[in-house]
């Protein structure tokens, strides 16, 4: 039973003729790790932004538990159902790591919003210690920001995790840890994990690999 279904989705950016996505069809199920691979400009990130409800498709529909995201409350979808790990981190730079997580949890009305220990443990699990947790994100390295982005995506316990190059700025050891967490979430906690990546190491853990080329999506194994 698919958790997230993409039906005949096409997408065209404003003021452009070329379609960034062409008639995409794919079903995502809970408990699986999906990898989407492809060259830069192939449409991976565009697909990710549609799956995460950050944008709406110009043609076709995306269904979450059979509800069309085009008609659903996408704010609610983003706040509760989905966690996104952005390639560019997209953190609030003037806030600390702790505040970023706390705010994300407050928006999704998580029961752990004011649980300091829970938030610190979450950060700890991605390699952010307590001291770093209270420093402004602006002053942290790219790797640290990436870790905070991952922690934020996990903070409200979403059903789907979307990750755009989640290990791009991490050292090998942390990359392995993060991948382990993501695979564990899929296989042991029945989450749906969708990863856009270049990393061959990551594709090794995928249950399904899909390739993107010029806006077309094809099954690759």
């Amino acid at each position: 039973m698919s958790l997230l279904s993409v039906k005949n989705v096409s997408y065209r950016y404003e003021n452009t003729k070329r379609r960034a996505l062409k008639n995409i069809n794919i079903d995502f199920e809970a408990g699986k790790v999906y990898c989407i691979i492809g060259k830069s400009g192939s449409g991976k990130t565009t697909l990710l932004s549609l799956l995460s409800g950050l944008d709406v498709s110009s043609e076709g529909s995306i269904l979450y538990e059979n509800n069309d995201l085009g008609k659903a409350d996408r704010d609610d979808y983003r706040a509760h159902k989905i966690g996104v790990i952005f390639q560019g981190y997209n953190l609030l730079l003037n806030k600390s790591a702790y505040e970023n997580i706390e705010l994300s949890m407050a928006i999704s009305k998580s029961k752990h919003t004011h649980d300091r220990q829970y938030i610190l443990q979450l950060l700890q699990s991605v390699g952010i210690d307590e001291k770093t947790a209270f420093r402004k994100v602006l002053k942290l390295s790219g790797g640290e920001q990436q870790r905070i982005g991952i922690a934020r995506a996990l903070s409200h316990d979403p059903n789907i995790l979307l990750a755009d190059e989640p290990s791009g700025n991490l050292d090998q050891e942390t990359e392995a840890e993060i991948i382990k967490i993501l695979v564990d979430l899929a296989h042991n906690q029945n989450k749906c994990v969708i990863i856009v990546t270049h990393s061959k190491k990551v594709t090794k853990y995928a249950d399904e690999i899909w390739g993107m080329s010029s806006g077309n999506l094809v099954y690759a194994g």
């Binding site: 995460s52 950050l54 709406v56 704010d75 560019g88 953190l91 609030l92 705010l103 928006i107």
Partner: protein
């Protein structure tokens, strides 16, 4: 709740931007406060004076007409405004109230003046009046229904130091100078008499005995011999050569001036008298105040336009930073309305502090600035308090005209001013958040983030 908390944190986390906004808020509120306080208080005073000046009617001899007539005919005498005419005019339905006054030039041979008394009668003729045989006057007797309404007392030029104002026709208040010269005290009596020997009918005039009910002090000692009493005996031909009752008329509605004018001439008022409201005093008193109000209003407009422009520019400059923040918050699932609310709360929190400080500074600055502007206006008009008082007294024969010199305006912060400033504050808060709110409401989060990245 988290929205309030986040808005509060944001103020300090984006201190640079918010300090700039706070400075603009504070400047605009402070300057608006000063301008509004000045405008509201000057408007109030102008309205008060306008109501008084535009309702008070002045009946004055038309000296040009009289002089022309006198040049043609030396026997010409100005037709008097008889008590009957005054009473008829007073009955006009257009009037709100009438105040009566009378005056007499008098002698009092039993008392001592600063000057030696000349007791000889002389013959003299004033323009438009009959040839008269009379003594040199040493005393001005001014009569009023209520002496406290006399201009000298209303303007505080003269102040009652002892006793009380006259309640009976034979009571009078005299100056402390005259009392000192004659060792008078409250309860003492003295006699005074019209400078004429006989009235217009040829009957010998009686002297009047006055009992001193009060003693006043006056800075201007040239008028030390003026005494104040009730009108009764001054309009009685047994005592007065020309017992004329002067009326000061107050219209119910300033628009009724023409109707009242017609009624007055119909009641027998001669064409040698003009009936008008107080244009000179209006221009002298109200114009500078209205100009101050206009200056304050223009200043307020300039401050608001400048402040709004700067805030809008700041908002546009900060929009790149805010767009990113909005994109991230939207990506996390925060609703558009909550983002707008957070932006508004941020601005509102800064504004509350700036409003409080601005109100305090503004109300402290308002008084000295008002004083400075008023002094400047009075100086440029070439008038001080004394001139405006002279204007008043030249019209009504000494009866208070209810308007004294505007030499001070209380720059008080009124509730209505605070409400107006609240409105301005709200406008500024909305303006400071408008660009960010526009982005939050209009675009999908991915587009905002994509533009930023």
């Amino acid at each position: 709740m988290y929205i309030v908390k986040n808005a509060f944190r944001n103020i300090f986390q984006n201190a640079g931007r918010n300090i700039m906004i706070a400075v603009i808020f504070l400047l605009v509120i402070t300057m608006s406060c000063v301008a509004i306080v000045i405008r509201d208080n000057t408007d109030e005073i102008a309205k008060e004076y306008k109501d008084q000046l535009s309702t008070q009617v002045y009946i004055e001899p038309d000296y040009k007409k009289i002089a022309n007539q006198f040049n043609e005919n030396e026997d010409f005498t100005t037709p008097p405004i008889t008590n009957e005419i005054v009473k008829k005019m007073a009955a006009s339905p257009y009037l709100k109230k009438v105040e009566y006054a009378a005056s007499m030039e008098a002698i009092a041979d039993e008392i001592t003046f600063k000057e030696p008394i000349e007791k000889r009668y002389t013959e003299m003729q004033r323009v438009g009046e009959l040839l008269e045989r009379a003594r040199v006057p040493y005393m001005q007797i001014s009569g009023f229904d209520n002496v406290s309404n006399a201009l000298a007392f209303q303007s505080r030029e003269a102040q009652l130091r002892e006793g009380r104002f006259p309640k009976a026709a034979d009571e009078a208040v005299i100056s402390d100078e005259l009392a000192k010269l004659n060792h008078f005290k409250i309860g003492d009596t003295f006699q005074a008499k019209d400078i004429h020997d006989q009235n217009l009918e040829g009957t010998v005039l009686k002297p009047m005995t006055f009992r001193i009910s009060g003693i006043y002090h006056r800075e201007n000692d040239e008028t030390y011999s003026e005494i104040f009493t009730k009108t009764d005996r001054l309009i009685n031909s047994e005592y007065a050569y020309n017992p004329i009752l002067q009326g000061t008329f107050f219209l119910s509605n300033p628009k009724d001036l023409d109707a009242f004018k017609k009624a007055a001439y119909k009641a027998g008022l001669s064409n040698y008298y003009s009936v008008k409201t107080d244009d000179i005093a209006y221009n002298a008193f109200i114009k500078p105040i209205e100009q101050m109000s206009t200056v304050a209003a223009v200043f307020l407009g300039v401050v608001l336009v400048l402040g709004a422009t700067i805030l809008l520019l700041l908002s546009m400059l900060a929009v790149r930073e805010r767009k990113y923040e909005i994109g991230v918050l939207r990506a996390m699932g925060m609703k558009k309305r909550n983002i707008v609310l957070q932006m508004l709360l941020e601005s509102a929190m800064i504004m509350v502090v700036c409003l409080a400080i601005g109100l305090i500074i503004g109300s402290l600055l308002a008084q000295p600035i008002t004083d400075m502007m008023l002094a400047d206006k009075l100086a440029s008009q070439g008038m001080g308090g004394s001139l405006s008082q002279n204007i008043g007294s030249s019209f009504s024969g000494g009866l208070a005209t209810d308007h004294t010199a505007i030499t001070h305006i209380d720059a008080v912060l009124q509730i209505s001013s605070i409400l107006q400033l609240g409105g301005i504050a709200l406008f500024l808060v909305l303006l400071a958040s408008i660009m960010s709110s526009y982005y939050a409401m209009k675009f999908e989060p991915m587009r905002i983030l994509r533009e930023r990245n």
